[in-house]
């Protein structure tokens, strides 16, 4: 057998070293013992990861390869020495070579104690979950008064001591064999067949078929038709592949899709169990990964883009179209960023197209009201546009005075609505609105963005003009296919076909700056290798920070409170990385205090379509006392602030009739959620009240009052402006809801050319930003459908300038 012996101290003179050296010689005919020293092991520091250093890698490799480990520990202050504790901390931080390894503890000390207390501590330390060693029980070898124990040749003097060590060592060899057997993968045999199980996905249960032969997992098929495209696709592809390739269930979850990853793994585990085998055996089968030495890869390209969402892929596509090279770095395993979660339609005024549609009742009224708006309320830089718009509207109203008319729109209406929609005042009384030049750039170019998307293959459904939630006006261009994913799929294919490179799982750590000019980035790839990218320009397109609660709380000046456990509707990737990168080279920030919340989100996941998500006319919102607290037809901001004022958590009350108006659900999903306790259902309101822990009398009265208001068509309490159904048909439902973060309006300060500006308002050479990472456009509130216009427009602008600036520089 082959063992590793660790000298548990860095002292120059050590009786523990002598003890190990004695064991090495004495047991030479039975086993090979390689002695490792702690001398060069750095002090453990979680803030300065040195797992990849030679000394720690050497310990890891040797321990993994050995049949067992013998640790000889002195006792310092009734415990193990810090030097020994330090190596164990390194070997339980990012790597776990002790996991399942047989360990024998011995110890020598000056006193009669013989390290008795240190050995007990060491046992407990080795039992910790990050270490998870298999320590041999019993047979404690304590060498007291070690200074008298050895002769001049370093041999133990007392025969009784040697005999006891012999018996301990014999037992350890046997123990090591048993431990190895315990950890060896058992030969598994399945009852062959195809097993129908379910996997838990992002949006609920997914049917899954697992085909097993007598000794192998042959096939895993997942029906993903009910999942949102783009979010977890990578988990559905990669996890089954890794399970089948490695014939193991010990596969790592994919960041950003961990629920789905575990859902798939657990589903296969159930199939294995149904086939009569023990899934834990498959979880033990670790696909042994060799610890690779860190490598550095250097790449040179023209433009490097940080983030593979809509803005980043657009920028890359534009660079490639101009005949230059582009490299996109994405920290997550899948491309798409937040764009795959977008509802789909993008705003762009296209009057020639919109004119095909008849105006809706109320639209003329809205236009009329706009012309009556006091000009003093319009910021001076927008006034000229506002006057021209008023003329356009007056002409339109006069032309259509005696008929329904067709849908009106113009670039100016889009601009003024973006401006008015973004106007907000924060808690400090600071007013904010969209920066004129940026809003003009956005609205002037949005239609060109639609046209450009069409030119690279995005297909739009031109038979309908839609109004995305919170958009104010019908100018949404809706792609065919799967909402946000439709853009990403086309862009990704285009980028790859044009020879662009997308590196996923490659987070950018810092910007490369030479003489004040940004000339590339440093990133780390999935194999922990450093990737250094040299480029003429860097485009930051890494999204906002709605998934970074600490950062939201730090900058927030708009909401009275943001809970520590606030959830987000966004991808978990949205942690403000680009903002950090930008500010690290002196970029200025704008509008950081303003963020958007989705008031009616799942309190556990931030998801929108769980429980009974119904049209707002059917919302009946009650707080944790069972009372209504707001006009449920109010704006997102009004609902959010009211919820925050009521302790964030509230319930949507519904009945059987309202249930039928819910989006994106099915009876099966509803039953499952009731069973899981994430949705409440009862035959009477009183029982429902008990389930959600509110006073039954209060809830019953709240609902009976509400029903009266529906009958009367008016709500004297909260002035709800639109009603539909009453709450009266059992069973009754309560859907728990909480506001979740949705969009961050603030970000890097840019100019109309997407150049990132420093605190003096000067462009930072070589640095560009597009999409949610940049601020100044949407100001206090972003219109629904404008984020897509923003990413595709500024993504194109950033690329064009990154190339143009560089070409000028070369000519000069």
């Amino acid at each position: 057998m082959k063992f590793v012996g660790i000298v548990g101290t860095n002292a120059r003179h050590s009786y523990n070293r002598m003890l190990l050296e004695f064991m090495q010689r004495h047991f030479a005919d039975q086993a090979e013992i390689e002695i490792l020293e702690l001398t060069d092991v750095p002090m453990f520091d979680e803030s300065n990861d040195q797992t990849d250093s030679d000394v720690i890698q050497q310990f890891a490799t040797k321990i993994e390869a050995a049949d067992g480990v013998i640790i000889a520990s002195p006792e310092h202050n009734h415990s193990i020495p810090s030097a020994l504790k330090s190596i164990i901390e390194w070997l339980s931080f990012k790597i776990h070579p002790f996991d399942g390894q047989a360990v024998m503890i011995v110890g020598a000390s000056y006193s009669v104690q013989g390290s008795s207390r240190a050995q007990l501590h060491l046992r407990q330390v080795l039992d910790a979950p990050g270490v998870n060693a298999s320590v041999m029980p019993g047979s404690e070898f304590l060498l007291g008064r070690a200074q008298t124990a050895f002769d001049d040749q370093g041999n133990l003097k007392v025969q009784g001591t040697i005999d006891f060590l012999d018996s301990c060592f014999a037992k350890f060899q046997k123990f090591a064999e048993i431990v190895a057997e315990m950890n060896a993968p058992e030969a598994l045999s399945f009852n062959p067949g195809t097993y129908e199980v379910t996997a838990t996905g992002h949006n609920g249960e997914l049917p899954m078929r697992v085909t097993l032969s007598a000794d192998r997992i042959e096939d895993i098929e997942i029906d993903t038709s009910s999942e949102t495209k783009g979010i977890a696709d990578v988990a559905f592809e990669r996890i089954p592949k890794e399970i089948i390739d490695g014939q193991t269930l010990a596969v790592d979850a994919i960041s950003g899709a961990s629920i789905t990853s575990h859902g798939v793994i657990d589903g296969v585990a159930r199939a294995v169990k149904e086939a009569g085998a023990n899934p834990d055996e498959l979880k033990k089968r670790r696909a042994t990964k060799a610890v690779a030495k860190p490598k550095v890869t250097e790449v040179t390209t023209d433009v490097v883009v940080v983030g593979a969402g809509g803005a980043g892929l657009t920028a890359a596509a534009k660079v490639l179209q101009a005949g230059h090279q582009a490299l996109v770095l994405e920290k997550f395993p899948a491309v798409g960023g937040n764009t795959v979660r977008a509802g789909g339609p993008m705003n762009a005024a296209d009057p020639d197209w919109q004119r095909q549609f008849a105006a809706l009742p109320g639209e003329k009224r809205s236009l009329q009201e706009l012309t009556e708006l006091d000009e003093a309320q319009i910021a001076p830089e927008y006034r000229a546009d506002f006057r021209t718009l008023k003329q356009q509207i007056k002409t339109y109203l006069a032309d259509n005075a005696d008929q329904t008319g067709t849908l009106f729109d113009s670039t100016l209406l889009h601009r003024i609505q973006t401006y008015l929609g973004g106007k907000r005042t924060d808690l400090n009384g600071q007013q904010i609105y969209g920066q004129y030049d940026l809003v003009k750039e956005l609205t002037d170019n949005a239609l060109d963005s639609v046209k450009w998307l069409k030119s690279i293959g995005v297909k739009f459904d031109e038979t309908q003009v839609t109004m995305p939630v919170g958009a104010i006006w019908r100018r949404g261009h809706k792609p065919m296919g799967d909402l946000g994913f439709a853009y990403i799929q086309t862009l990704k294919d285009f980028v790859e076909k044009q020879g662009g490179t997308i590196m996923t799982e490659t987070p950018v750590q810092k910007l490369l700056v030479t003489d004040g000019q940004v000339r590339g980035v440093v990133a780390t790839n999935a194999d922990h290798e450093q990737v250094i990218v040299h480029a003429d320009a860097v485009i930051l397109a890494s999204g906002g920070f709605a998934a970074n609660t600490k950062m939201l709380q730090k900058y927030n000046t708009y909401w009275t409170a943001i809970d520590d456990d606030v959830k987000t509707t966004n991808s978990p990737a949205m942690t403000g990385d680009g903002i950090r990168l930008g500010t690290s080279v002196g970029a200025d920030l704008v509008g950081m205090g303003f963020s958007q919340m989705m008031p009616v989100s799942d309190p556990n996941t931030g998801e929108l379509f769980t429980g009974l998500q119904v049209p707002p006319a059917n919302f009946v919102m009650v707080n944790q006392q069972g009372k209504r607290f707001v006009n449920e037809y109010g704006s997102r901001d009004e609902l959010t602030q009211a919820a925050i004022d009521n302790g964030s958590l509230f319930y949507l009350i519904a009945d059987e009739a309202i249930k039928k108006t819910a989006y994106n659900t099915s009876q099966a999903k509803i039953d499952q959620q009731v069973a899981d306790g994430t949705l409440f259902r009862a035959n009477t309101l009183a029982e429902l009240a008990e389930q959600i822990k509110v006073d039954p009398d209060v809830l019953t009265k709240t609902i009976s009052d509400y029903n009266h208001y529906v009958d009367a068509g008016s709500d004297p309490e909260f002035h709800k402006t639109a009603f539909d159904l009453k709450v009266e048909v059992a069973p009754f439902y309560a859907t728990p809801r909480k506001p979740a973060t949705h969009h961050t309006m603030g970000g890097l300060k840019i100019d109309t050319g997407a150049h990132v500006l420093d605190h003096q308002g000067q462009p930072i050479d070589g640095l560009y930003a597009a999409g949610e990472v940049a601020g100044g456009i949407h100001a206090g509130n972003r219109l629904g459908g404008n984020s897509l216009s923003d990413i595709f427009t500024f993504g194109r602008i950033a690329a064009a300038n990154a190339l143009a600036d560089h070409e000028t520089a070369v000519t000069e």
């Binding site: 860095n10 002292a11 120059r12 750095p42 002090m43 453990f44 520091d45 979680e46 803030s47 002195p74 310092h76 202050n77 009734h78 415990s79 193990i80 020495p81 810090s82 030097a83 504790k85 330090s86 164990i88 901390e89 339980s92 000390s109 000056y110 006193s111 207390r117 501590h121 407990q124 330390v125 080795l126 039992d127 910790a128 990050g130 270490v131 008064r145 200074q147 709380q553 730090k554 520590d564 456990d565």
Partner: protein, 204 residues
Amino acid sequence: MKFVGIVGTNATQSTNRQLLQYMQRHFEQQATIEICEIKDLPAFNEPDDRAAPSTVQQLSDKINVADGVIFATPEYDHSIPAVLKSAIEWLSYTTRPLINKPVMIVGASNGSLGTSRAQAHLRQILEAPELKALVMPNVEYLLGRSLQAFDDQGNLTYPDKVQELDNAFDEFVDFVDLTTKIMPSSQFFEKSKQFSWKQVTGEE
């Protein structure tokens, strides 16, 4: 009263540091707490001359003049971090400022157990004859779920934990008073302010 608070980790982000900073402000009427970092101490390595490096000497001097010491420890692998153990080894091997020094142990962890096992180890370590600290008995302050425990101003947001800390700190102040009464300095005499493990055996 004047206390020294020792941050038991070298990590840049530490809720144990936050806990001490909170205690420093929260108890400023009752005591001055000077927060000491151990991240810049060298790793312990028995020096031939038994001399404390200057950073260890500085820490030791602060402990010497303090009325008591508060250790805030994380838990790594069911025990205290190596870096804290190293600092204690320096003190035990060179200047021994903890002899008869009243000590309060607190700890914060992101899990729910709040460093219970590390604290038990630390208690045993501080009671070793090389250290002879007077660790306050009976009181154990464990702060679990510490990543969510502090708001932006660094205030502890769990009301029950604030109350518990108030009680623990009151007891510690009483404990310090009491120990000065029962421990006249003349009564206890250490052979040597310098210690070695060999000494235990009477070899020197």
